[in-house]
Symmetry: C2
Amino acid sequence: MRKIAVMEDFLTPERRKKVLDTAEKCGFAVDFYGRGAAPAQGLEQYEIIYGWCNPQDLKRATGLKWYCCGFAGVDQLSDDSLYASPDVVLSNSSGAYGLTISEHILMVTLMLLRRMPEFQDIVRRREWVSELPMRSIYGSRITVLGAGDIGTNFARRAKALGAGHICGVSRSGRNPDPAYDRMLPQEQLDQVLPETEILVMALPSVADTVGILSRERIALLPRDAIVVNVGRGTAIDQEALMEALNAGRIAGAALDVVVPEPLPREHPLWSTRNLLLTPHISGNMSLGYTCDINVDMFCRDLENYAAGRPLEHRVDRKRGY
Amino acid sequence: MRKIAVMEDFLTPERRKKVLDTAEKCGFAVDFYGRGAAPAQGLEQYEIIYGWCNPQDLKRATGLKWYCCGFAGVDQLSDDSLYASPDVVLSNSSGAYGLTISEHILMVTLMLLRRMPEFQDIVRRREWVSELPMRSIYGSRITVLGAGDIGTNFARRAKALGAGHICGVSRSGRNPDPAYDRMLPQEQLDQVLPETEILVMALPSVADTVGILSRERIALLPRDAIVVNVGRGTAIDQEALMEALNAGRIAGAALDVVVPEPLPREHPLWSTRNLLLTPHISGNMSLGYTCDINVDMFCRDLENYAAGRPLEHRVDRKRGY
């Protein structure tokens, strides 16, 4: 019988049943493993892997035809040489994270605009100070760099909260979502940075996004700008960002992704001024909704796969997303 | 000439001009003082005071006919005996704070649901842990106790973020705002508490709101409930709330208002578990928008006053709001 290996930790009995029912309907048997916990032997029997399989284990999956990664970012999985065959189809779970990551972006943006880390320090000292200047999402000028599922989910929420102007920036510069007041192609990013108060970065790590927020572009941001990154740490010249923050040349930043991860204890990012650092939690899979959508998307694509239809979430490995 | 005393710190040249132009049109001259900085002599010459006049100074304002308080909460100003005459009209600035306070509520709610204080502790220890269970505003059951300007501004934002069910609770149980899925009168509060995941309190301090979140009602909340209070500290049995938090009987609380303020250094609230404490900052006047609206509302009511029309923001001193 054709076989699927599921390697994920969030498979509650309900989600397990949903996978099993869909697999049975499509003529597959399923074995369940933990996230990243590929069995030491027998990986060659699986035609499909869903969840997270460590890249170094993939080569042993000699029967693999489709790997559905449970994450949205698949930069570690794009290299053809990881696979036993170059024909392995890769799909991701982009679409499952827009909700939770957009709530993270909203939270850290409000924390920075409303000076929350400083108020938390004040409270830690048991002092009662209430007069630090604050700002609002209402009326603010926002640039969303990477106008995919995550960026657009945030743009819709910011719009609903009364953001003054939202500019989306994507490779093509096209995106029909009405949350954006304006769309720009990536090569015109420089023109919008000087008027950006909130720069939200939700980019995959691919050749032309690595280092996209360069030292020169950081210098184009106004003094009251804040930068939020939830995509990949490689998108930012981290050294230049730390310098700008420490010198007060921009108002603040919230980084959920950094280089490297985990961040070594002696790294200067830990003590950078006006930096709200989080340990890659924005897409935390503990949120039931995220996992439900994740499983739903896999099951839909499993039906597509079994019927010979194109996968909804197939990744172009050359493009990287 | 009839005279107005403005006692506020946020009077930028533009806002000052707006007040002066409106006053001139209405036949008034204006003197400007700082917030709470009533002049030692001559207070009797003012027919109108706008901003914040310390209650102990009001008695000297023997010519006072209208006091427009720049804050929304006027519990310190309701007592007739504060004034030289019981006929002094009191108005407040309810309506100026909905935007900024609703952004505060959103921020602290997300921080509690997403375990942000714990992640901040982890980051402070330079550790890299990403797997604490989180929750979302999306799909959550929210009760808004006090369905006025502030509560309703929050309800609209929560609705836009996909809240599952929003129940408003007000004295009358009436409120036409479509953000609420359901409205209840205050006396039926008990019936909605057991199914409340997020309890937002935005009540004025009046006789029947003092102690409204009693020990018995805290016991009705489910274990995963969080409580957010931005109204007045008196609305909660603080002792009972601290016990519930320390015992883990509810999931968390965010208090921007407490009893007393400022909180003494040795008070047990500072070290209560899962409590996000802020020093009464949610309605911080540093936000330009809040101050603009504040001045606009005063100027509109000044025109009403001069024309003999009823004031839009008149407070019923007996009712307290």
